[in-house]
Symmetry: C2
Subunit: 150 residues, 2 copies
């Protein structure tokens, strides 16, 4: 969510310290565990727009943050189309009242969706923790240490 939420960012002490850093495509790909192909694909889909120096792509700290956000969305099971929609939510102009209303409406819709996901997730976690507890108990009962690889 580039620059939208203040969040708990480490204090920028070095003036324009590393927010001015630029990244190559391979560098970011390594960092996030994806391929350059994937990043170009995301660009084609309008999810990121790195600067260009000639043909070569130059990624800013902003781009990097955005990419991280995209991948987090993916881990949560959103499609690239949905992620694009959500990213666009932040780019929308907040000048008009109607637009603010619309933004509010869609944020709330999305929060509802996310909270459902959270319930699903908690249920899933609890079930697997149950299994863990049961299996641990069973092993102990058999006089086996549940920890240790042998």
């Amino acid at each position: 969510m580039p620059d939208a939420a203040p969040s708990a960012a480490p204090a920028k002490s070095t003036a324009s310290g590393d927010s001015a850093r630029i990244y190559s495509i391979a560098e970011l790909a390594r960092e996030f565990g994806i391929t350059a192909r994937t990043m170009r694909f995301y660009e084609d889909e309008g999810l990121i727009k790195p600067r260009r120096q000639g043909l070569t792509r130059l990624y800013s700290a902003h781009d990097r943050t955005r990419l991280g956000w995209i991948l987090r969305g993916k881990r949560l099971g959103f499609s690239l189309a949905e992620i694009k929609e959500l990213l666009d939510l932040y780019q929308v102009d907040r000048t008009g009242v109607q637009q603010l209303r619309e933004l509010l409406r869609r944020s709330r819709l999305h929060i509802t969706d996310l909270e459902r996901k959270r319930r699903d997730l908690d249920a899933h976690i609890n079930e697997f923790k149950d299994v863990e507890a049961q299996v641990t108990a069973e092993l102990k009962q058999r006089g086996v240490d549940p920890e240790g690889d042998d």
Copy 2:
């Protein structure tokens, strides 16, 4: 997760009341908001195995529960292959110590994955709640009631 976790199920008062109920493919499809095609596909992939009466599929309460679990997994962003793996975790025989160890290991791995997802989800939710709060404040400042559709 069928019958694995006790969970908070409503008391079965009618003896074999509805755990003996059988469902048609269309019935379950309607209930879960999917198509019959999807259910047959899941069967092909080995995710559910309904009884047969001739050619017609008959779904039990167990199948229904299982289907619900599958769809919950999907909402969390798991692939059908992953979901199958997780379902199989429960079917695995818990007799041998080695198998119990393996089950424990994989459960823990999965819990780790789920908890990462949870952190991602919480971060996402917080960001959108920030947006909601900011937009709400902005609307109030302009003397507009954030609620109400006009």
